[in-house]
Amino acid sequence: MKCEDCLPIIEEYFDGELNAKTAEQIAAHIAGCAECNAAFEALEQEQTLYASYTREIDVNPALWAGVQARINQEAPATTVPADSVRQSSWLAGLRGFFTSLVSVPRFSPALAAALVVVAVGATVVVMSYLQSRSQTEQIAKTPATETTAPKSSESTAVPPSVPDNGNQVAVAPSTSKEEVTASKEEKNNIEVKPVKSSAEKPRSLEAKATKQPDSISDAEQLLRDAERKYVAAITILKRDYDKRRSQLNAETIARFDAALDNIDRTIAATKAAVKKNPGDPIALQYMLAAYAKKVEVLKDINQGS
């Protein structure tokens, strides 16, 4: 081997990237060539110098705590469906986050938002379906008689802001059996109409259950899942709020607490109504709207306070 063959690949030799045969040839050449040997030693000296390079960085506990906090917030939204085992896992994670005492707490976490999106989505689909069924059946018996919205006279009325879709959407009744699946076309042509008054709530779903037992069962299950997701989201947001309370003045805390108590009473009332009328879509609708309102208020508090 000659110097002109050796020098172009001497760095690869130094890096251990040559095959055994070529490496042997280089080694043999270097042993007898002062110039190439000097080149090789220069590389060694440089590497020694670089090896002494120290960076002013430190893997401190805060680094892991920051990672852990974000993982605990984000993991369930990305990889974990809402079953009990995994829920306990992220709840354990949340405990780790709140005890880490490192890094600024992040409010309105992605998890809560994701849970609400899922819950609202489920509400929209199921309520659209249930309403379309109930309206169709009502219309089949009597001509449509729209009434005014209840405007919930109670102070704990549930504004429709979050669950607009589930609360105030009335799907135009179909004239055939095709209405059974709330099709995309139906959802795209939704018409915002006043909510039916609870006095005019549709007939019991039990009758329908005899016609479509699986669908109704699935629908109720979806609503229950939606309720669970709202509750989970509220739990997270409430913890954020509790964490933040110490930074707020007493008057603000009192105002927020009063608002939350108000909504809690509404939730309790709607839950009681659902318990009495388990198959009543309007009762379920109000209950989920109450949960949604609490999520909305907690988010506003966390973002605004």
Binding site: E11, A39, A42, Y50, Y53, I57
Partner: protein, 206 residues
Amino acid sequence: MDALMLVSQESRRADMTGMNRSAELIARVRSGDDEAFRLIFDRYARPVMSFIYDMVGQRELAEELAQETFVRAYRGIQGLKDDTKLSTWLFGIAKNVARESLRSKFKDHNRVEMEDDGVTQLSDKELLPDDQLINKELNGVIQTALACLDADKREVFTLKVFQQRSYEEIAEITGFSIPKLKTDLHRARAEMRRRIQPYLGVGYEV
């Protein structure tokens, strides 16, 4: 919790770090074991953060980006195809995170802005190594020299010279072809050599 228990836990963690292979740790993370991810973090946090620091040149930013790297790793670990390449995969994420940051933070994202601390700007006349200051000076010189490399060369140089990665691994991490990374590495070494020359006993140009 007393100190002994803490020491015991740390010791156990260190033992497990040594014993567990990457594939086992990944399997545990996938099954929901967050402690396994902590072990992965413990094992790779320093090299990953060193690499990021060399890329961006700022300590606080490097910490932030290292956190981002591990969060993305946690999110994406379900999709890791070859469990034996955890390290390469992590460095690939770190490279992406650092590149994104360079693009967003610096106008000329090929060059980084160095922190003042620890960086010593020396002219040729001033390069008279004093035994007492040589390490600090040298750190500053190397850091400055790194910052002067363009991003491609800095990436390849750091992965080879500081992280001791093979060409094949560097190609996987950076997405560069082997010929490109060889060329970049050669040029980076030459540029770095010019800047650290006064600290070398032999002034040989390869």
